[in-house]
C-alpha cells in the first residue's frame, strides 16, 4: 500500500508532465509507432532520441508517438514540431540519423534537408 505522500508525489509528477504535453510552446518530436514503424525499427529510433536528449540533459522537449500516417515505406518516420515553425518530417530514420536530427534540428534549429520527406 502506498502512503498518501507517495500518491501525492505521483499525482504532481503526472500533472507536471500533462502540462508540458499540452503546452504549445515546447518542441515536440513525434515518432511513428504504428505496426509499420515498429517493424521498420522505430523502437531503436525512439531509444536513440531519448538517449540523445538525456545525454544533453534536455528536459523541455516532448517525445510522443503517433500511428501509421500512410507513408509506411518511409518508416521509421519522425516529425519535429517547433513553436512558430513549420513541422518537418524525416524518413527512414536510423538510430544514427535520429541522433544527428536531435543535435542539428532540435538543439541548433538547423533542419537536416537531405532526410526531409514531403507529407500531405
Amino acid at each position: 500500500m502506498k502512503t498518501v505522500e507517495e500518491l501525492e508525489r505521483i499525482r504532481k509528477q503526472a500533472q507536471a508532465m500533462t502540462r508540458l504535453r499540452e503546452g504549445g510552446e515546447t518542441t515536440k518530436i513525434v515518432v511513428g509507432m504504428g505496426t509499420c514503424g515498429i517493424a521498420a525499427g522505430a523502437r531503436e529510433t525512439l531509444s536513440a532520441i531519448m538517449d540523445e536528449l538525456a545525454r544533453r540533459n534536455i528536459q523541455d522537449v516532448i517525445v510522443t508517438q503517433t500511428g501509421c500516417i500512410g507513408l509506411c515505406e518511409q518508416e521509421p518516420i519522425i516529425t519535429v514540431v517547433m513553436p512558430g515553425r513549420e513541422k518537418v518530417a524525416y524518413g527512414k530514420v536510423s538510430m544514427e540519423k535520429a541522433r544527428k536530427i536531435v543535435a542539428s534540428h532540435v538543439v541548433n534549429g538547423q533542419v537536416v534537408g537531405e532526410w526531409v520527406i514531403p507529407t500531405g
Partner: protein, 181 residues
C-alpha cells in the same frame, strides 16, 4: 517482426490509442508445459462487436478500420507459427484483452527480445498511463509498475528522457533474476 517484445510494443500502442488508463502486460514462461503466454489487457474504449469478429483478418481490417490495422494479424501469425494461437476479448467501455500463446521450445518461436527496452519506452512516453508488467518463469516472478518505478526514480520525472536508463536497468536486473530465456 523479429522479437515478441516488438509485438507487445505494437499491441500496447493500440491500448494507448484506445485511451486506456491502465495497461497490464503479463508474460509467463512455463517450461514444464512448454508454453509461453503473453497477455495484454487494458481498460480502454474497447472494440465494437462487428470489428471484433474480423479483427484477426488483415484484409477485412486493414483499411476501413485503420485504427485496428495489421498488428493483431501479425501477432497471431507469430503465435500460430510457433504452435500457438491468439485470442481477443473486448467489451465496449470496459477494455480489451489480447492473449497469445506459443510452444516455448518451437523452433519457429520468435525470441522474446528486449522487454526492458519495450517497457521503459512505453512507460516514459506515456507517463499518464499506469503500466503493470508481470513476468513469471516457473515459480520465479518479477513485477513492476509505473507506481513502483516512480518511487525508484525519486526526483527524476517519469516522463523525462533521463528516466529511460533507470527503468531499463531495473527491468533488466529483475528479468535476470527470473532468468528469462
Amino acid at each position: 517482426m523479429r522479437e515478441l517484445s516488438l509485438h507487445i510494443l505494437d499491441i500496447a500502442q493500440n491500448s494507448i490509442e484506445a485511451g486506456a488508463d491502465n495497461i497490464e502486460i503479463v508474460v509467463s514462461e512455463d517450461e514444464s508445459s512448454d508454453v509461453l503466454t503473453i497477455r495484454i489487457a487494458d481498460d480502454g474504449s474497447g472494440i465494437p462487436a462487428e470489428i471484433l469478429k474480423s479483427i484477426t483478418d488483415p484484409f477485412v481490417t486493414s483499411r476501413k478500420t485503420r485504427r485496428v490495422g495489421l498488428g493483431i494479424p501479425l501477432f497471431r501469425e507469430a503465435a500460430r507459427m510457433a504452435g500457438g494461437d491468439l485470442e481477443v476479448r473486448s467489451a465496449i467501455g470496459e477494455g480489451t484483452e489480447i492473449k497469445a500463446d506459443f510452444r516455448l521450445s518451437n523452433i519457429d518461436r520468435a525470441p522474446l527480445g528486449d522487454m526492458a527496452e519495450t517497457m521503459a519506452l512505453l512507460i516514459v512516453c506515456n507517463p499518464e498511463v499506469n503500466f503493470e508488467y508481470r513476468h513469471t518463469r516457473g515459480k520465479a516472478r518479477f513485477v513492476c509498475s509505473t507506481n513502483t518505478l516512480v518511487e525508484i526514480l525519486g526526483d527524476i520525472p517519469l516522463g523525462s528522457p533521463s528516466a529511460v536508463p533507470v527503468i531499463r536497468k531495473v527491468i533488466k536486473e529483475g528479468l535476470e533474476h527470473v532468468q528469462v530465456s
